[in-house]
Symmetry: C2
Subunit: 492 residues, 2 copies
Amino acid sequence: MLAFDDLLEHDRQTQALAQISGRLGWDQETMMPRGAAAQRGEEMAAIEGVLHARRVDPRVGDWLAAIDERALDDVARAKLRHIRRSFTRASKVPADLAAEIARVTSVSQGIWAQARAAEDFDGFAATLDHVLRLKREEAAAVAGAGDLYDAMLDDYEPGATGASLAAMFAALRPRLVALRERVLGATHQPEPLDHDFGEVPQLALSREMAQAFGYDFNRGRIDKAVHPFSSGSGADVRITTRTSARDPFNCIYSTIHEVGHAAYEQGIDPAHALTPLGQGVSMGVHESQSRIYENQIGRSRAFTRHLFDRMTHHFGDFGVADAEAFFGTVNRVNSGYIRTEADEVHYNLHILLRFDLERALVDGSLGVADLPDAWNARFAADFGVAVDKPSNGVLQDVHWSVGLFGYFPTYSLGNVYAGCLHESLRRAVPDLDDRLAQGDTGAATAWLHDNLQVFGGLREPRATIAHATGTQPTVEPLLKYLETKFTELYRL
Amino acid sequence: MLAFDDLLEHDRQTQALAQISGRLGWDQETMMPRGAAAQRGEEMAAIEGVLHARRVDPRVGDWLAAIDERALDDVARAKLRHIRRSFTRASKVPADLAAEIARVTSVSQGIWAQARAAEDFDGFAATLDHVLRLKREEAAAVAGAGDLYDAMLDDYEPGATGASLAAMFAALRPRLVALRERVLGATHQPEPLDHDFGEVPQLALSREMAQAFGYDFNRGRIDKAVHPFSSGSGADVRITTRTSARDPFNCIYSTIHEVGHAAYEQGIDPAHALTPLGQGVSMGVHESQSRIYENQIGRSRAFTRHLFDRMTHHFGDFGVADAEAFFGTVNRVNSGYIRTEADEVHYNLHILLRFDLERALVDGSLGVADLPDAWNARFAADFGVAVDKPSNGVLQDVHWSVGLFGYFPTYSLGNVYAGCLHESLRRAVPDLDDRLAQGDTGAATAWLHDNLQVFGGLREPRATIAHATGTQPTVEPLLKYLETKFTELYRL
């Protein structure tokens, strides 16, 4: 199988170069001197150009054609599947169009940021329309006679379709809306935090939490950044966090969330390193790891008991009476405009709104000019609040400005998958709460590692979840988890 | 001139990728998690492979052949000169040989480090012999009928030859040996430091010194590393430093030295950025900047007066009576085995020893097995001391283990060039000492910027110095500077 070996060797170099590109992204958000931005833009363009040329290299097509798949084992076939998908997709997009998208989206984010700061959607509308047209053109090149939105989704969640997600989300929405109404109308309401928390102890506690969730500092590091993220695969997986004097949960739960992403990347079988299997298989499956670490484990009654002790250790008396009150404070449900600040009950409602609107934008039934009204009407319907300004509404997220259509639903898909995994995890580790109350996440993270993380890209996204849980994923476990948790917490 | 534009565009991407490679090197020494070393090796190999392929791309040869140089201005011609040299050289080295050198030198450094730790030259001899044979083979491919050592030198100091450097160094050696003997025999001997210096104030003072010498923090940053270095060009030039509780000069003068390198890279005309002119023109000229910042300016009587004030501010009374005694302490001459710890009088003697030995290794008149004896005999002759162990002798430097033959002489060439520049600088800024005594290096750094740094790679190395000083470089100014300074300091 010379063709297979040559193909994998070519791909290995490409994977290594992609890791470099990721490291530059990390550097840009953490270490890069401010004055280096323009030069870095040229550096990034140069390496992206190299990556693109390697991905559409005609030799890849020749190798793919020469390989007899029947002679391959499952692992080799999985590698081929990824390479073929990437090559086919990249080859369908005309080089001119790819360059135009890169050019436009390199400036459109700045225009969005200005418009958001000025609360001026009109100042962004023409740019958004341009980006949308280019991304539709790209999707049309990829989809052929198929669905445009499905072609977009395929970039982030191979195998998912707009129709399947719409059906899934249709089952979520009414029960989430009903739950939020019951919760917000409850007599018992947990207290919010009201205290100042120092940056040094926040960062110390955040490192402690990373350690508690099994983050391997020998193959990673934690730095501060404006937006928390995880970056890199295999032996070099770095995360970032941030602090806020009034809200230490921002720091703590951002860290645990990113540790979930990082655990996936650090946990993949080293034999898959620098192969197409050496990274998380999709955005949705990735998000399932960050969410289950952050929410089902990190915000559980049991674990927050441990966290309350550690908060008291680091901050002294911070105005919350006991572990039970603290559990309520951590999980307080609160109508808000901003997706990234949303609690577990509201979060998916933010996503469902974006999913429906972007599908309508892509299929042309909604025009960019009508987007703010559509956003505000939907927000009022699902959240019971009128949007007061664009930065709290249609201008709040960066995604659309850089062409990320089809990305938002992977967040909710991650939550749905986390619900399924959590149900199986509870069955597999009956004394999980006793362990979590001691701050011991070892049994939970080991189960996730052994049943999901270690496989990397071996199976397709849904099959990855199904392999871990033994059954096809549905929304039911997530809904049951949320309804049980918040019914109890709000004494409904 | 379509061919010229295409060639420059190709080269611009290559320059940008080379900057990325440099940034990865920086990351490796400052930020990279320990466990990422093996993966980083693959990443570095991948980007070096891309760089090599771009440098020997046959289209570069076609473009070079198609360009009519007569139609070009001086700047364009200078760019062509660099590209042609790089292409010609890279094209002459067989790909197999280049790969073999990369493979061998990626492990030989580790073998050297082990041998040094074990004080066992024999454990390194076969590796050194292998590296030497490969580098001779490479040089033979480049040199054709020419001199092997000259071909090696050309990598670091285009235009220099072994013979011209030998003549230059022959004029240095006897006067340096004579000076060290007079200095070491002097009745008056400055006191060494004897005090503990905290790390935090050392780093604070080091930043202050970087600022005083004009380092632009908006286009750079300072971090700690095991070995101080400067990395990057244009808008992103980062330096590192280190601290030592008993020797704060290590931190302070390493920083000033690296700021000299960085000032060159930060000071190049932005119009040259990401072109072949957008970086320092040679190792020797680069070293002239670091040395003049560190020595002729930083260790001058005038500037040490200011530094004494700042040391007192940061450390309180540290056991040195006054600025005059401090000037002596900073410039104390001291026989020692280690090149990197040498004072201004001894430093070049360390280099001359290495230069003569490596030329003999390359021309075959000295075998690797006889190297330790040759080293020890020469050291005894020039330094008056017997080498006590290999780590203090032939095993002390990493250079030869990774194939850097022809690199050492650029350090002394840098000192010679610094001597020339210093003489001209003094003429151009008659009140320099008054300014330096106030900690004001502005006139000195502006002169170096305007007369040398801004031009980057526009002129060949010697011509770069000659343009700044108005005359061809010689050893005389350096010798006069050293003899005057140390005669006065040691009251000879």
